[in-house]
């Protein structure tokens, strides 16, 4: 997580804590033609090969629409540097395309995702970064504003490996409580090169006995930038301090009509996971 993110969040909290009020309003919003959205997460978990690789294709829809339409009937495959192809097949008009035969991968290798949908061809290239670090988890209890919270931290040492661009390494962490929904954050190793990086799960709802599950990924700079922009689109309600938002561009190109690139991203990562069960703790 960046310093900026922290600082702005803090500002907003201070500034509006007791003064502001929020209310849900009705508003007329513009609409636009549906676009293809790609969520292609080729996450290698070398400890657990049982999970199939899943690519999710959907369409953009009106902002207030309750359902997000899937993109059905696409032809999807992955191609490696040796021109080997690995087809994905759709599960019952769900927009989920799966395969059990993902290509073997080595550090720095590039793969290409191909999609043919609605008579248009899409392509995305991405590089794989190996995650050569071990995870440890720790728990603490703190209080903010007279409420106490359990904090669970994931700690991992910044990669010592040098890639083509040795200056930065980028990480994504996902956090989940009791099989609920995931939240995610990205951070890079700036100011902490080679040191231990941490990411914290903190929630008012967390109780003793809850399981907090973490996934850690090493990601490309492109994907880091992508997720960073996605985060600021989602956290857009910053009052006067909000940062201008615009369409977040990913890495899926439209080869038929270059003016109509797909949204979303094709990522290749190594995933490491760990879980923690919250245990009772002495009050400070």
């Amino acid at each position: 997580m960046s310093i900026r993110f922290f600082s702005l969040t803090v500002l907003i909290v201070i500034c509006y804590m007791c003064l502001s009020c929020e209310e849900v309003i009705d508003i007329d919003l513009p609409s636009s033609d549906p676009k293809l959205v790609v969520e292609a997460n080729l996450d290698y978990n070398f400890m657990d090969y049982s999970q199939p690789s899943v690519i999710k294709l959907s369409l953009t829809t009106e902002y207030f629409s309750k359902d997000v339409p899937p993109a059905n009937g696409a032809i999807v495959w992955i191609e490696d540097a040796n021109k080997n192809t690995y087809p994905f097949s759709e599960v019952e008009n769900s927009g989920f395309y799966i395969t059990s035969f993902a290509p073997d991968i080595t550090d720095g290798q590039e793969l290409t995702l191909h999609i043919e949908y609605d008579n248009e061809k899409y392509e995305a290239k991405e590089q794989f970064y190996k995650l050569d670090t071990e995870i440890t988890l720790s728990q603490s209890k703190t209080s903010y504003f007279n409420k106490s919270f359990y904090e669970v931290q994931i700690n991992y040492r910044d990669s010592q490996l040098d890639y083509e661009n040795p200056e930065r390494h980028y990480y994504l962490t996902e956090q989940q409580r009791n099989r609920g929904s995931y939240s995610w954050t990205v951070q890079n190793n700036e100011f902490r090169e080679g040191n231990v990086l941490t990411s914290t799960y903190i929630s008012e709802d967390a109780q003793i006995g809850d399981t907090i599950h973490f996934n850690l990924y090493k990601i490309s700079k492109n994907y880091y930038n992508f997720i960073y922009k996605i985060s600021s689109s989602v956290n857009n309600g910053g009052g006067p301090f909000q940062i201008p938002s615009s369409t977040v561009k990913g890495n899926v190109r439209n080869m038929t009509n270059p003016k109509n690139n797909a949204l979303g991203y094709f990522r290749i990562t190594e995933q490491k996971s760990a879980s923690h069960i919250i245990h009772p703790e002495q009050e400070e």
Partner: protein, 790 residues
């Protein structure tokens, strides 16, 4: 660096052949209007014989040329006794007029009041001046009178909304305002993220805002100039004023150190420590304080020395998890010297410092950044003859940028200590400004300012392939930070970048009749220091950076035309202006730009252009029991950042888009009614277009989250912004002869509790559906303040 003053510098000769004089039986009366302590700008000098009137200038000086004869001058200034001067004019005369306080009039905490009658003859336009008293009269949030909130009532001045720092003048950004507190430049004008300005109105003598028509003696910023002058202490008697309010309290003490020679003023203000916070939790604090001081030393009639200072800080601390401190420090030393009745000089040395410190315990780091400047200037004001006066001088500013230092806040922290590369630059200017009366009806103010900006080492500059710090991927249409290919270290004092610019300025006033005039002007302004801000409103974290190899100076040109009229001997005044501005090298940011903690800021910046145009209308009633003002602005402020070449998409597809502070309509009405000696009522109403917003035109799902897909930038507007405010002041014993005088001020902000939208955000609720959420900051806010004077 200081020029020796000389009465006839060579370069003046160039201009002299323009000059002409009137027929020989005309003589000139020159004078200065002042009270015990300081000069009185805006005093009315009325000439009984021909019912003409004049105003004293910002130094309290005036000049009248008349035929030989007998005249009676009446000098008036509110709060002072009228002064009458009989003159037999058969030679040039110099007057030193001292006005005495009229204690009967001084029944409120009014110290001075400017006459608002327009000086229609003066080639000065796009300028608004306010006295501390004007500001104190406006009803404001939380009972604290505030300079910036008063400014935004004026036409052409806006801000990004409630709770937004800074202010915007004629479409310019907040970082383009040159703010001078007693000649020292102020980097941040807000306390508490814009809820208050850093200026304590008790310590302010007068302010002047140049929205355009900026004289050549000011430079360094591209949009406007705000001069704020602190009060001098009383030279004869020890006095105090103060106030106790719901948010803050203040106390001002002033008086003589040596009678009629040396005076001091100390003015302090502090908010309460748990502002906005729950009281039971004493680990938290959020407050600000500031201190204004000034020592005035009148050596003799010809020499005056002023030493003034400002120190202000905002402090926030939460549970020891966060400590945040920021603020300005200013010190100014000015020496005013009168060489002769026609030549005045001011030598100034000042220092300005803005710091920002942050400790975040949960990330275990300390952050510290600052910007400092040192300024030496020498300004001369020179009356050549009846139709000619000149101002010339030099200003030399040394800027030190300390972009940041990050360090671990405790031993267990994994943060590595790092100090960002310091930057430094000289900004040296000379200027010459002439006020020139060509005919009895036509007067010009023209001038030229030359600035040299030199950024110098010791500094290491990054090098990039093709000198481009930003790369562009044409297939994905994404801008991203380029890799640093190499670095180059400039040795100490070695020039890194050198820029120089000539900024011409001209304003003409043509008098149509005794009561009306048209004025036109052109201003060119260059800015070498850039305030990096990617949020809709500036935050205290915003960072200043100098022009250099990758960031070019920003240049703005402005044209303005106006019509001015005094009605009923100045009881009513009307000012209308239209303007057009265009600028280049306007900074814009690539999507996802991180500005804070970014050492290589050039890797997120693109250069664009800006434009703004508008119509301003200001109608005032200046005297009587009922006074007031109606101001309306119709304006547009836009920016555009096209691609660097035709293959690039630019920002917002290279189209013009509205700046975050663009407001098409802006109407403000302020009324003040004096019912009796005891009761005074004020009301104000504001109606504005909502500020620009970006709305999503669709949504999609990614990583299990609903993502709003935003359309064209700033293409939509928030709902209209309006509120009505009231305040009244009650003076229990207006005719009391005791030294202790007091008043109560009761105020209500936003009387009908309008929930104005500060922002509309788009987010997924707990049921995983999208919704639009309006955030509003102030509903109805009542306040009460007790003011006293002794």
């Amino acid at each position: 660096m200081i020029n020796k003053p000389c009465k006839h510098p060579l370069f003046l000769l160039l201009f002299l052949y323009f000059s002409q004089s009137f027929s020989q039986n005309h003589f000139t009366i020159k004078g200065t209007v002042r009270d015990q302590n300081e000069s009185l700008p805006g005093a009315i000098i009325s000439l009984k014989e021909n019912a003409n009137s004049f105003l004293s200038d910002e130094n309290g000086r005036f000049e009248i040329t008349l035929e030989e004869g007998l005249y009676t001058l009446q000098i008036n200034f509110l709060g002072y006794k009228e002064h009458v001067e009989h003159i037999a004019l058969h030679e040039n005369k110099t007057l030193d007029i001292r006005l005495d306080r009229d204690s009967a009039l001084l029944n409120e905490l009014i110290i001075t009041q400017n006459s608002k009658t327009l000086d229609i003859k003066k080639p000065e336009m796009s300028i608004n001046s306010l006295k501390a008293e004007d500001i104190q009269k406006m009803p404001v949030i939380l009972g604290e009178s505030d300079l910036v909130k008063a400014l935004v009532q004026l036409p052409g001045v806006t801000n990004a909304g409630e709770g937004a720092s800074g202010f915007n003048v004629r479409g310019g950004t907040a970082g383009q305002n040159l703010i001078l507190l007693d000649k020292a430049s102020v980097f941040s004008s807000s306390h508490l993220f814009g809820f208050f300005s850093i200026f304590n109105t008790d310590a302010i003598h007068d302010i002047k805002l140049y929205k355009g028509g900026v004289p050549a003696r000011y430079g360094g910023r591209a949009s406007s100039v705000l001069t704020v002058n602190q009060k001098s202490g009383d030279f004869s008697q020890f006095q105090g004023t103060g106030g106790i309010g719901v948010i803050s309290s203040r106390l001002t003490l002033h008086g003589p150190i040596a009678r009629e020679k040396v005076s001091f003023i100390v003015s302090g203000r502090s908010s309460y420590a748990h502002l906005f916070l729950k009281l039971q939790d004493n680990k938290n604090a959020a407050y600000f304080y500031d201190l204004n001081t000034k020592i005035s030393y009148h050596f003799d009639a010809r020499n005056k020395l002023f030493l003034s200072g400002y120190f202000g800080r905002d402090l926030f601390s939460f549970q020891n998890a966060l400590n945040n401190k920021f603020g300005n420090t200013l010190i100014n030393l000015s020496w005013e010297h009168q060489f002769s009745s026609s030549l005045y000089a001011t030598a100034t040395v000042n220092f300005s410092d803005y710091i920002y410190n942050l400790t975040l315990d949960f990330v275990k780091f300390n952050w510290h950044s600052s910007i400092k400047n040192y300024n030496i200037s020498y300004d001369l004001s020179h009356q050549i003859n009846d139709n000619w006066s000149l101002k010339y001088g030099t200003q030399n500013v040394l800027n030190h940028f300390f972009p940041g230092e990050i360090s671990p806040s405790e031993e267990s922290s994994s943060i590595k200590h790092r100090v960002f590369e310091r930057k430094q630059a000289w900004e040296n200017s000379v200027y010459l400004e002439a006020e020139h009366r060509l005919t009895a009806d036509l007067t010009f103010n023209y001038g030229l300012r030359f600035t040299n900006f030199r950024r110098f080492g010791n500094e290491t500059i990054n090098l990039y392939a093709n000198d481009l710090p930003i790369t562009y991927d044409p297939s994905l249409e994404i801008y991203s930070e380029a890799a640093i290919t190499d670095t180059y270290t400039y040795a100490k004092n070695k020039t890194i970048s050198n820029y120089h610019n000539w900024d011409p300025r001209i304003t003409a006033a043509f008098q149509l009749s005794d009561t009306e005039s048209v004025k036109a002007g052109y201003t060119s302004m260059t800015q070498y220091l850039h305030l990096l801000s990617n949020t809709a409103a500036p935050t205290p974290l915003d960072i200043w950076t100098p022009s250099g190899p990758y960031i070019k100076p920003e240049r703005v040109h402005q044209w303005a035309l106006g019509y001015f009229k005094n009605l009923k001997q100045g009881v009513y005044t009307l000012e209308t202006e239209i303007y057009y501005k265009k600028g280049n090298n306007h900074i814009d940011y690539i999507d996802g730009a991180e500005l804070v903690g970014n050492e290589h800021i050039e890797r997120v910046i693109l250069n664009g252009s800006s434009r703004a145009y508008g119509l301003e209308f200001l109608f005032r009633k200046n005297s009587g029991k009922l006074t007031g003002m109606l101001s309306y602005t119709l304006s547009r402020s836009e920016q555009r950042t096209p691609g660097r070449d035709t293959t690039e998409i630019g920002i917002n597809n290279g189209e013009w888009y509205r700046t975050p502070h663009d407001k098409l309509h802006d109407l403000a009405v302020t009324i003040s009614y004096t019912l009796s000696d005891k009761w005074n009522f004020n009301g104000s109403f504001t109606l504005q277009s909502g500020r620009p917003a970006t709305y999503p035109d669709s949504q999609y799902e990614y990583l299990g989250t609903r993502i709003p897909n935003f359309g064209l930038r700033n293409h939509y507007s928030l709902p209209a912004f309006h509120h009505l405010d009231f305040s009244c002041s009650y003076t229990p014993k207006p005719n009391s002869t005791k030294k202790w005088k007091s008043e109560w001020v009761f105020g209500v902000y936003n009387v009908y509790n309008r929930k104005n939208a500060a922002s509309i955000s788009f987010k997924e609720n707990d049921d995983h559906y999208n919704e639009a959420v309006k955030m509003s900051i102030f509903g109805i806010v009542p306040s009460i303040t007790y003011n006293f004077q002794f």
